[in-house]
């Protein structure tokens, strides 16, 4: 069974986000980087499928040099090899370009199941998984909390509003992983030491057959117009008095201050 896991390195969820002065991106100075938590579910699930059915787990990730730390963490968890899409040309790419690049890298590999997190914790795009599936022309099931693979089919339970939906699909297929799918394992110390020796292939945009017009800002379909921090929440106002009086006060505030009625 050939398993592929799409992985992204993102800032630690505890990071205090600052916007880079004069630019529409975050300031990465002093930021702690981690494996996208949703992608950890994907790595763990791939490792479990591998244990049950035997196979190989390949990590595929697009990112700067630093992303190799996240890749090595996944290798330390037990993945077998990795592909790193690294190229300055990928800077300022939107999720369409990233999905295009990833799909081109995946096309070079054999695959039965592709797993990834349902979204990245930094941009919350929640689209790369689906876009990759479309570009590869394979079925996809998203927001999966339970997965059963047998032979050439997958049975995936996904979360929908107020219910669970069970979908059966043929393989190959792409699955986006949701919290609750599994409990990701820790890398072990021996695993960390072995990770150094596992194969890691680096691809540039040229290796994937992408020219300058197809990547970066040029190839993106999305343009970031502005980026700013939300206004700081001010302390609440406590209203006191008889219910009818308070209700009047609230109505007045909603109309005159919040301007929502």
């Amino acid at each position: 069974m050939n398993l592929i896991v799409l992985l992204k390195q993102v800032p630690d969820t505890e990071t205090k986000i600052r916007i880079k002065s004069g630019e529409k991106k975050i300031d990465v100075e002093g930021v702690n980087w981690i494996v996208n938590p949703y992608d950890e579910f994907a790595v763990e699930e791939a490792l479990r499928i591998k244990a049950a059915q035997s196979g190989t787990v390949t990590i595929v990730s697009l990112g700067p040099q630093k992303a190799q730390e996240a890749i090595r963490t996944a290798l330390a968890m037990g993945a077998d090899k990795a592909v790193h899409l690294q190229d300055a040309a990928f800077d300022d790419s939107d999720n369409y370009v990233i999905s295009l690049a990833l799909s081109k890298a995946i096309a070079k590999l054999e695959y039965d199941v592709i797993l990834c997190g349902k979204q990245a914790m930094d941009d919350d795009g929640a689209q790369v998984g689906s876009r990759v599936a479309e570009l590869l022309g394979i079925p996809q099931v998203s927001i999966v909390v339970k997965l059963e693979i047998s032979g050439k089919t997958a049975k995936a339970t996904r979360q929908i509003e107020g219910a669970l939906q069970v979908i059966e699909t043929s393989l190959p297929a792409l699955i986006t992983c949701q919290k609750g799918l599994n409990e990701p394992r820790y890398p072990t110390l021996p695993g960390i030491m072995q990770a150094k020796k596992k194969p890691l292939t680096v691809y540039t945009s040229a290796d994937l057959g992408l020219d300058a017009s197809q990547v970066g800002e040029a190839g993106s379909k999305l343009k970031i117009v502005d980026m700013y921090l939300p206004p700081t929440r001010s302390t609440g106002k406590k209203l006191e008095g008889e219910p009818q009086d308070v209700a009047l006060q609230v109505a007045k505030l909603l109309r005159e201050e919040a301007k929502v009625i």
Partner: protein, 392 residues
């Protein structure tokens, strides 16, 4: 030239140890501090990740990480989580260090793998201290009398980590009091050997998750081959006490690294608090009394870590710690740990004194680092002896 940058392996080890400390140690630290129970569930998880035996040689089943600095980095993170629990996780190292430092090949092959069994966490204990022999090891009165193919041990050891519950005890005893230090030999006693029993388990001020107890030896008979390093004077024999003393110089910075972890935990907490707590119209860190105090705390933590790493760097290069660099690291780290944890309580004021806040526990945990593994006074004796050129 020196490079302060962590290698990729060190960075990943640190990340793992820190994650383990945050997710597995911190949530239960208070519980084990209060109940003084052995944190078996945490140790089992640590064992599965290789945290208990990553530094043992691979030929005996260990992780084969020989870099001392890597060891100190892991140790610091775990102690940052909880020094008591960190002691439990890494405690076996002392007994294993004795076997690795003084044992012959047969003994290493027999005993080290038991600590590397992925199926089971096994504990080691190192029994040196006695009621009458602390800093003055010469005063050891536990005797080991040769009797045919065996040794018979009699005596009492106290303050032994994992004492009585270990799968393996490494016990220092004298074969001939008249020979002083030269008469001291080391023996391996396997669990279940008749004649070895636990005395009382100690109730401690700090590192309370760790098991500290008396070990009583009453006509404890062990085979001759359990003497570490074989008979003195025999072909291939490795010395008893001097091997031990050399080994201690190298384990000392490791103990220092734990003190750095505690101090760092206290400093970070006090720092965070000082940014939130408003008195006199501003966060207290903006008052110089507190700001300056935190500056001093930060310097002390960093300086202690650097001394620990310097000793590790020298050990990695197999350099002789000729000026007591290991002792310097342990001594300084222990002393600043006391200062920084006390200051952390001070920064928190009244809240720092309450058990609701973690700083008082760190203060209690800190004290032992000026005492065990060689008191601060003993460290100064070692360093000053080396400075004046004394031998041994």
């Amino acid at each position: 030239m020196i490079d302060f940058e962590l290698t990729e392996e060190q960075r990943m080890f640190k990340e793992l140890a820190h994650k383990f400390a945050v997710e597995k140690i911190r949530p239960v630290a208070e519980y084990y501090d209060q109940t003084e129970e052995m944190p078996w569930p945490v140790m089992e998880e640590a064992h599965k990740l290789g945290l208990t035996n990553f530094y043992f040689p691979p030929e005996y089943g260990g992780g084969g990480v020989h870099d001392f600095i890597t060891h100190f980095i892991v140790s610091e993170e775990l102690a940052w989580g909880c020094a008591g629990i960190q002691t439990c996780i890494l405690s076996t190292g002392l007994a294993a260090a004795a076997i690795l430092g003084m044992g012959n090949e047969e003994q290493k092959k027999k005993y080290i793998p038991t600590f590397c069994d992925p199926q089971k966490v096994r504990l080691g204990a190192m029994g040196l201290t006695e009621p009458g022999a602390g800093t003055d090891i010469k005063m050891i009165s536990t005797t080991a009398k040769k009797d045919g193919d065996s040794y018979v041990l009699n005596g009492t050891k106290c303050f032994i980590t994992n004492g009585g519950i270990a799968d393996l005890h490494v016990i220092f005893a004298t074969t001939d009091k008249k020979l002083g230090l030269l008469g001291i030999a080391t023996f391996i006693i396997e669990k279940g050997t008749p004649g070895l029993s636990t005395g009382k388990k100690e109730k401690k001020l700090g590192v309370r998750a760790s098991h500290t107890a008396e070990v009583i030896l009453e006509d404890c008979r062990i085979p001759k081959k359990n003497r570490l390093g074989g008979e003195l004077g025999e072909e291939g024999s490795t010395s008893g006490i001097f091997g031990a003393l050399n080994m201690l110089e190298v384990t000392r910075p490791g103990v220092g690294s734990a003190a750095v972890g505690i101090a760092r935990a206290a400093f970070e907490y006090a720092l965070e608090y000082s940014k939130q707590r408003v008195q006199g119209g501003k966060p207290i860190i903006k008052h110089q009394a507190i700001g300056f105090k935190l500056a001093d705390m930060a310097i002390k933590v960093d300086a202690a870590r650097l001394l620990v790493w310097r000793a590790g760097w020298m050990a990695n290069k197999n350099m002789q710690l000729r000026r007591g660099e290991g002792s310097m690291a342990k001594l300084f780290a222990g002393d600043i740990c006391m200062e920084v944890t006390a200051d952390a309580i001070q920064v928190l004021g009244g809240y720092g004194y309450m058990k609701d806040y973690p700083v008082e526990k760190w203060y209690r945990d800190a004290k032992i680092y000026q005492i065990w593994e060689g008191t601060a006074e003993a460290q100064r004796m070692v360093i000053s002896a080396m400075l004046r050129g004394a031998k041994g």
